[in-house]
Symmetry: none
Subunit: 410 residues, 2 copies
């Protein structure tokens, strides 16, 4: 089963927005064995959209269209869909009810643009949009499907996950593709590659992609086959061989982030954590609390961006900062211990360093970071020297800090 992903919007063509929708949809389709043959982007232009519809619908079984479904004047996808499928627009009662409910909850008044959003092509099925007012549309011809979704990423993703992917999974037969991703941190791509050794012995017909990012290297195992159980078994074998060599760096699988893996460990062990951050400015706490339910183990913490805040919020002695400097192992330990004591958490984690691009010196260059750990029985600090932009250094630091606690807990 072959698909085209068609994204619509002038903002994409002029590079104002990076097309993350396209990649996300590609990934999701791949997971249910729908093979994406092409991705196409055109602007908010009726003729260009109609040409793209014709091309895509004649070439592939599945066409996923996103963008241009909002209520403003530049959103012309719905008109193009009507022209293409020779349908008129009618006000849909179910959609109207959903939009009324949606606006009532937000204390917003009914408006001409809300009225406009109730209109859908008479020939279209509805793809429900639980998080917004623009309804999705579905056209079918035999096993072929033409699906139109809004471009707002969180609305589109919810609709894909809830409605589109389950529907497409039901249509696919035959070829089996299995992907499985292992997530590592604390080791560079080239070192990981060497650690894994001879790649043919390791894979035995499977394939492996190294996907580096500031927070770690993902290893994606892929197996193509015709039988699900055999493909799953092959993936499991390759995973076992990889783990026998690199297990200590692997914190999770699939889409699990390091903050989830760490949260799971804390929850299992019944431990609480608090964090004191300097140069990361709250990034570690922000990541830990992305996880719903994290209030069970995250007590909170402090962002002590200034020296006075280190003293006022964490009780780090001013004299200690004076003596060793704010970026030092001594202050990292004192911050970790301070945040633990102030909040009453079992574990204190701290970060102090220089994220740059300014503020570095010869002895303390940009990218110098100390992470600190404290529990009831010990306090320690680890030195790191990271490279990259301010954002990359902060990201690497956040991963190193969380990984420090994860290793301690294991």
């Amino acid at each position: 089963m072959n698909a085209t992903i068609l994204t619509i919007g002038d903002e994409l063509l002029i590079g104002q927005i990076i097309n993350t929708n396209q990649a996300w949809i590609g990934e999701q389709l791949n997971l249910v064995n729908v093979r994406v043959g092409r991705m196409l982007t055109v602007g908010d232009d009726m003729q260009a959209i109609l040409t793209a519809f014709t091309e895509s619908w004649s070439r592939t079984d599945i066409v996923i269209v996103t963008g241009g479904l909002g209520p403003t004047h530049d959103d012309i996808t719905k008109k193009a869909v009507c022209t293409f499928f020779d349908s008129d627009l009618v006000s849909n009662d179910d959609v109207r009810e959903h939009i009324e409910e949606f606006m009532r909850k937000r204390n917003r008044k009914w408006s001409p643009s809300a009225e406009e959003q109730t209109l859908v092509p008479r020939k279209a099925g509805i793809v429900w949009n639980p998080l917004g007012t623009a309804a999705g549309m579905l056209f079918s011809e035999g096993k072929k499907r033409f699906i139109v979704l809004p471009g707002v990423p969180y609305e589109m993703k919810e609709m894909m996950t809830q409605s589109v992917i389950p529907m497409l999974a039901g249509l696919v037969d035959g070829a089996v593709i299995r992907h499985h991703t292992l997530r590592t941190t604390g080791i560079a791509e080239s070192d990981l590659s060497e650690l894994l050794g001879n790649i043919d012995e390791l894979l035995q017909g499977a394939s492996l992609a190294f996907l580096p990012s500031p927070t770690g290297v993902k290893l994606r195992i892929s197996v193509h086959g015709t039988e699900a159980a055999a493909a799953d078994r092959k993936v499991a074998e390759v995973e076992a061989r990889i783990r026998s060599k690199a297990d200590k760096y692997i914190y999770g699988a699939g889409t699990e982030e390091l903050e989830e893996a760490l949260g799971r460990l804390l929850l299992t062990q019944g431990k609480t954590i608090a964090v004191a951050e300097s140069c990361t400015g709250g990034l570690v706490l922000e990541k830990l609390t992305r996880i719903s339910g994290s209030s069970a183990y995250v007590l909170g913490g402090a962002v002590s961006y200034s020296n006075s805040a280190k003293t006022a919020l964490l009780g780090v002695p001013a004299a200690l900062i004076e003596k060793h400097g704010a970026v030092s192992p001594e202050v990292a330990e004192a911050m970790a211990d301070g945040v633990r004591r102030v909040t009453g958490a079992d574990i204190g984690l701290s970060i102090t360093g220089i994220a740059g691009p300014t503020g570095g010196t010869a002895e303390k260059p940009v990218g110098l970071i100390y992470t600190g750990y404290a529990d009831a029985s010990c306090a320690l600090a680890v030195k790191h020297q990271f490279a990259g932009s301010r954002a990359v250094i902060r990201d690497r630091t956040s991963a190193a800090a969380m990984e420090l606690v994860r290793r301690k807990l294991l």
Copy 2:
């Protein structure tokens, strides 16, 4: 002058990699008045590549192809180019010399893949690759240009900047495109659309795109013309008309983020800020400190995820939390005032709420947020009801909190 950007690679189709090259090239072409009509992505498949070449070259004046020029087995772009332009491959002496020099500098030995990289189509002009070994290729027909570049972003960008963009700028005549983006927050897309009123009166021939996101709606004004000064004037006129209606919601222009706009204001007014966050878990502090130099106005703050942390770190009386609940205007005010006092900042900002998806009740549903503000003379709290996923609610909240301070400072 009309262009297609064609990117090649299976990794793009399965969503393993987000296509940032495409957006970057789109932006660069736009700046020299080359209008991108479509962006297309196909896999490492000969037939798909040839079809894409035919389509693109027949439709547009300029075709920029990236990807598939490396020496590994799945890189077949060069063969496809030879087939398409009916040319054979020859070893190019200048390219060989460049690769030899390149490898000598890096202490790398000559190899079969290096030899392979010296081959270019006989009919192609060379686009120099100062940062790598894969030469770019150029084919011309009258004013039409077909350009093939490697997919490695930093190599491609250097080649675009050094060679391709100057060449294309020399080909373009007449047409002028101007884009200008105004950034709003605190108003929904449909409300903003209504506030702006009659769109034809507003634009008078220019065009306007609404680009919504959880943190606000961007308004992009576009003017196509033949004379630069007139186009700039027209953009300025449309901006003035938009500002006369919606100025209070506009925090910045171009690529400026809300945290930059707020940081600029704080710096100008010589004020410092501290933040106490509950459900956003550090997101506001993390955003404020993304900006290099933010240590001049961000003192830090606390993430008081638990009630005990609100008391321990911020001095919020346990009795107050007991009486009104942690998610209440009273606690929001006390948090803002507390973080201000503890850190000695001029301004205290606070957030308390329910980011979901769990933790909501009938009286205090998911998405209920209070933002609090305190300075030397006042303390206040604002109620919000947001919708969306946990991540979206946190993002909306962070924007609302920063916007509260921005309005206060104006």
